[in-house]
Symmetry: C2
């Protein structure tokens, strides 16, 4: 591939970043030849020649000059249709759409194989941190035990403001929105779905197995309360929204997204503000920690650029781990130790705890610390997301079992 | 390549680790079929069948069954002969010998190209941290500005004991030796040569340019003194042995290895004990931080395994950046701000400072803080390594210029 001619879908924050980064990268020998947007007349920070814009996807999909499609649009359904159409036509795609990927990866992997075409998406998980590529290429062996991290910058920013700057949650959320870290509807970030979708993609490349988002326990930070923050501070820990996939034994792995009490000795304790941090743990190398900007226009765009340049050398994911022998299977049959703060909700009536370690009652709120199976949490999650319940994982028990 | 049949050179700490790791990695489909050692009867922790051993390199180099040579021997000259011979015969090689690589990379790159054969060496720099692979494949663009880090575990262990545990230097060094972090002749680690050789290799993959080790200013920690440690503590910084390659402008980059005053806000401040940490800074993604075990039997072996498995997919370094247009050139024509502590040595007579910011004289020792060109330091280094001189980089000036 001598020159990469790109059809770009989406010219929002990330799309504009890509436009700038591709111009900067003089050795990329890449050029954006067409940009498909909904509204070409919308005012944008980055100026591109009006002749580049189109509102008709076919103008890109049917252009024989275009040898790479870069897709960074927000609408997951539209993204799916574009990516699928392009791949079926044999056009390579670089995508940043985690929601779309997390939902449709099995089909998109199949199309890549049957149509001998590449779909790259390193930018979809942790922006500028090369997590997918490293899991696919470097941690490509049987030693991998765990990938765990802070995958969402918005929620981490909010929690950092609360913990390090003593701000209240609502104020921190508003600030995140003003700074552009959180969407105007922030539930995607703070309810953990953004982290969840990234975790689904990561797990495909970590352990070779796709687990549907609905089958994974996900709990966010939207119901966090001053009393939770006080409790964590008293214990000398921070509350972080953590996503993890962990091999619990040779035959099984588990995964979940939920707030966690993180002690200062952990690498992710110092991942603050809008940063992302990922710990990759393996049998012989112990822990590797990767840290960087997980979102934002230019960091995400620079990750997209790495994928664009990888296409110069015909790089594609091989999904080698999918065909590994003795692959571990997904399980939710593990026990977690959790902190649950509640007021009216009958937490003990909803969940069967195998053990209760602490209970505290007061006029203002109650909490308990107990052991409960992940499958219980998954089955009852709808009844635990009320406004008066907050839950956090206490990792010691889990780690005890693990070690 | 269906099955990887490995001829292993070296069965010391790392070689034994590789033997164990390859056995664990059931999906690698790799097997060590011959091990070349100097003395097959030397007692070793890991047991391997006696029939595997040979003392004759030709038994591996001329074995048509062997399709990969893994070389992890200490003797740089012997390593060079083995790797060169193997490559000339068209046999792929995975090497961990940083000294050999730093000295002979230009020739070995040429042989790889002319003989269409692969030489991989991710383990040679920062053990289990995939620095080389990421620089080669992911930070493969014009945005890269800087790679800076703690690349040597032994010296970092010693400095950590001194700073965090208040031990004296000699005691910390003895302890490092007892724990196996430092060689019985530790000068390779503590004089900065280990970091230097890694930096030479990293720079080839970061910016596409080979700079010979002799042309790079390298200053170690062996002359560090209580008064230096006291001074650093008073200023609230740690002294770390830091290697860096930095683009100082579009046309030029510089590189050097020397102790540095590291403030708590820097990522590498918290890289303690035997760990390595590398910061990769780029124009759009800001800073990426990678952290992990940089040395030791199994961490290094797991990195070797990643290279072994990359060979299953015929992976080789393309050294793409060597042919980039407008590549920056190496310069030592930059100004550093340094702290120099001395007693008898006439530091001001040896070095021409463009500015002196502080001077302190006492009966015990003297120090100054001044601006001096890197080319000065390089030219006069032999006269500055006396027992009574210690030098550390104060990064603010350099960064001011940079920003």
């Amino acid at each position: 591939m001598s020159k990469i001619k790109i059809g770009l879908f989406g010219f929002g924050v990330v799309g504009q970043g890509i436009f700038e980064v591709v111009k900067k990268a003089k050795n990329a020998n890449a050029e954006i030849v067409k940009i498909c947007v909904r509204n070409p007349n919308r005012p944008r920070k980055v100026e591109a020649d009006a002749s580049l814009f189109t509102t008709d996807a076919e103008e890109i999909l049917s252009n024989p000059d275009i040898n790479l499609i870069v897709e960074v649009i927000n609408d997951a359904d539209a993204a799916y249709n574009i990516v699928r159409s392009a791949l079926l036509k044999g056009i390579a795609v670089v995508s940043g759409s985690k929601t779309m990927l997390a939902r449709h990866l099995p089909e998109l992997i199949e199309i890549q194989k049957t149509h001998h075409v590449a779909l790259l998406y390193d930018a979809s998980s942790c922006g500028s941190i090369p997590v997918i590529r490293n899991l696919e290429e470097y941690y490509d062996n049987d030693l991998l035990l765990e990938v765990k991290g802070i995958l969402n910058g918005s929620s981490n920013y909010i929690l950092s403001r609360v913990f390090d700057h003593g701000e209240d949650y609502d104020h921190a959320l508003r600030q995140a929105q003003e700074l552009g870290f959180a969407e105007s509807d922030p539930s995607f970030d703070i309810e953990g779905y953004d982290s969840l979708f990234k975790l689904v993609i990561i797990t495909v490349h970590a352990l070779g197995t796709y687990v549907a988002p609905d089958d994974i326990f996900t709990y966010g930070i939207s119901t966090i309360h001053d009393s939770d923050i006080r409790y964590a501070r008293e214990k000398g820990v921070k509350i972080k929204l953590v996503a993890q996939v962990v091999k619990v034994c040779d035959e099984h792995f588990t995964m979940f997204v939920m707030p966690e009490f993180v002690s200062p000795s952990k690498y992710i304790y110092s991942v603050d503000d809008e940063y992302n941090g990922v710990v990759i743990r393996g049998e012989c190398y112990d822990r590797q920690f990767m840290f960087g900007k997980g979102a934002g226009s230019l960091p995400t765009a620079s990750s997209i650029l790495s994928d664009i340049m990888a296409r110069k050398h015909d790089y594609r994911y091989e999904y080698k781990k999918q065909s590994y022998v003795d692959k571990p299977e997904y399980t939710t049959d593990i026990t977690l130790r959790v902190y649950i703060r509640y007021r009216e909700t009958d937490v003990r009536g909803i969940l069967s705890f195998t053990k209760i370690h602490e209970q505290y009652f007061s006029e203002e709120s109650n909490y308990l610390i107990g052991d409960v199976s992940l499958s219980e949490l998954l089955a009852k999650r709808d009844r635990l997301s009320g406004r008066d319940v907050f839950m956090a994982n206490i990792p010691m028990f889990f780690l005890d079992r693990d070690n």
